[in-house]
């Protein structure tokens, strides 16, 4: 993603100096000064698949909403049905425009009876804040807690045991897309069984002031497990191998949830929400294009914005692409006409003026190891 706010100073997470001290290569991302890699993207990627990795994702935004009409506000804003959320449960959803385009994708946490937390993409915090507060009605009080909240992700097959050793409560019983409260290394946290890697693990929401202590404790306690700090580079290749959408790359205001493969978080039966009519019209008509995963026949790397060809003619565009370190080949995702969306369909990617063969494959590219509910 390109940084569009180069004229304003980059924002820093509470751990920015820790990353610099650790030798991270820092880059601008969505207005933030973030670590893209520490030792190398492939090594970091493999550490998460094989052992455990630690991510600073404090750039993500968190909004709290509470009050008797908090649920009604969320129901109006989000495509998914938050009525089914229990306290301690998390739900993935989208915010849509009336025309069906996507404002952002997010997770919704039910913290208490009339109290929720929405977790949004870093580059969309200001836009989303304006959107949710201007479309919220009734007795719902919104609070943007992004700046005072730090977020660390601990991901990989050894993440559960590591967090269990440092937590003052049991964590193995926390199911996928659920959370509990407890202290980790003495730092009060929301311990959420979620992530963006396809591995088991947790995301830990803590007060900004506790971030450095928690980070240091996890690095220290995870040393024997082979823990490594992980930059945004590997975060991107890990999510790409799972075909998790990245806002600004794969989804945006010009794409709708159905063509993006997010129809499962659109619940028209719940009642009115922003974008419902447009999305239902699309569903009735059938989507003209679909977001698919494809692999390259050779190693040439597809990148965001490259043209997709079918039968010699332009048919779509690559929205994300990279070498996938765990699948050991170049992979990508992009929009193609629905007729070309089936696994096995032959495509080509135009790379530096030449067509390079590719084929549509089943996704995820790499098997998911998230905890089953």
């Amino acid at each position: 993603m390109t940084d569009t706010t180069a004229s304003t100073p980059l924002k820093r997470t509470p751990l920015r100096d820790v990353h610099v001290k650790a030798g991270a290569k820092m880059v601008p991302f969505g207005g933030w000064d973030m670590p893209v890699q520490y030792t190398g993207i492939i090594e970091e990627h493999r550490a998460v698949r094989r052992a455990v990795g630690l991510f600073d994702i404090s750039h993500m935004g968190e909004f709290e909403v509470r009050g008797p009409d908090a649920l009604a506000a969320i129901q109006r804003l989000c495509t998914n049905d938050a009525r089914t959320l229990e306290i301690g449960q998390v739900q993935y959803a989208a915010l849509c425009y009336p025309e069906g385009g996507i404002v952002d994708d997010l997770t919704v946490y039910r913290l208490a009876d009339d109290h929720y937390m929405l977790v949004v993409n870093a580059s969309n915090i200001d836009k989303d804040w304006g959107w949710v507060t201007s479309h919220s009605t009734g007795r719902a009080e919104w609070k943007n807690v992004s700046d005072e909240t730090a977020l660390l992700a601990v991901q990989g097959p050894k993440a559960e045991a590591l967090v269990a050793r440092l937590a003052d409560r049991e964590v193995t019983g926390i199911a996928y897309y659920h959370f509990g409260r407890g202290a980790v290394a003495g730092v009060p946290a929301i311990i959420s069984r979620t992530g963006y890697t396809g591995e088991d693990g947790f995301e830990l929401y803590v007060a900004a002031g506790g971030a450095e202590r928690l980070w240091a404790a996890l690095i220290e306690a995870g040393r024997a497990d082979g823990i490594q700090p992980i930059g945004l580079g590997a975060r991107d290749t890990l999510r790409l191998e799972m075909k998790y959408a990245l806002y600004g790359n794969d989804i945006d205001q010009t794409t709708n949830p159905l063509e993006a493969g997010l129809g499962w978080v659109v619940k028209p039966a719940k009642g009115e929400f922003i974008g419902r009519e447009a999305i239902e019209a699309l569903r009735a008509r059938g989507t003209a294009r679909k977001l698919v995963g494809f692999e390259m026949v050779e190693r040439a790397v597809p990148r965001h914005g490259y043209r997709l060809m079918g039968g010699g003619a332009p048919v779509g565009v690559v929205t994300s692409g990279s070498f996938g370190p765990s699948v050991e080949r170049s992979i990508g995702i992009g929009y193609v006409p629905s007729a070309l969306a089936a696994a096995g369909s032959e495509l080509a990617v135009e790379i530096r003026g030449a067509a390079h063969a590719a084929r549509v494959v089943k996704t995820p590219f790499y098997p998911s190891h998230t905890k089953k509910a």
């Binding site: 893209v36 190398g40 993207i41 492939i42 580079g233 190693r299 040439a300 990148r303 070498f323 530096r352």
Partner: protein
């Protein structure tokens, strides 16, 4: 500080050339591979192709980025590193050795005079990039 062998010549675009008579073996520098990160694909011309000094002759792709490769000298490609398609990571692990890219038979060995010395290249990269 990245390794800059004294016996090689360099371009501002971070390629090196090892001159052997009328031939030059070329690749990218340790500094360049550090900046690129993990190399996953190298696109090179075939034996017999002509390359021109300071023009692009191929690309190197890391996980994150694509970069053009610039020829230090003009001439004809007489050897291509056949290991790189299978093991592009050699560019990272051994940029001046097994990570070499081409051998060029120079049209004009005088091209070498236009290249940077190791000392000058070291000054160029002293800032360390990021």
């Amino acid at each position: 500080m990245a390794n800059v062998p004294a016996e090689l010549k360099y371009t501002r675009e971070h390629e090196w050339a090892k001159v052997e008579g009328d031939r030059a073996r070329i690749g990218i520098t340790a500094f360049a591979q550090e900046q690129l990160g993990d190399v996953v694909f190298v696109e090179l011309p075939k034996v017999g192709a002509k390359v021109t000094a300071l023009k692009t002759f191929g690309v190197v792709e890391s996980v994150k980025a694509v970069s053009d490769l610039f020829a230090p000298v003009s001439g004809e490609v007489v050897e291509v590193n056949a290991e790189l398609p299978k093991k592009p990571e050699l560019v990272n692990t051994d940029p001046y050795g097994q990570g070499w890219m081409l051998v060029i038979k120079m049209t004009s060995p005088k091209d070498v005079d236009g290249l940077m010395s190791a000392a000058d290249y070291e000054k160029l990269t002293a800032g360390g990039g990021h």
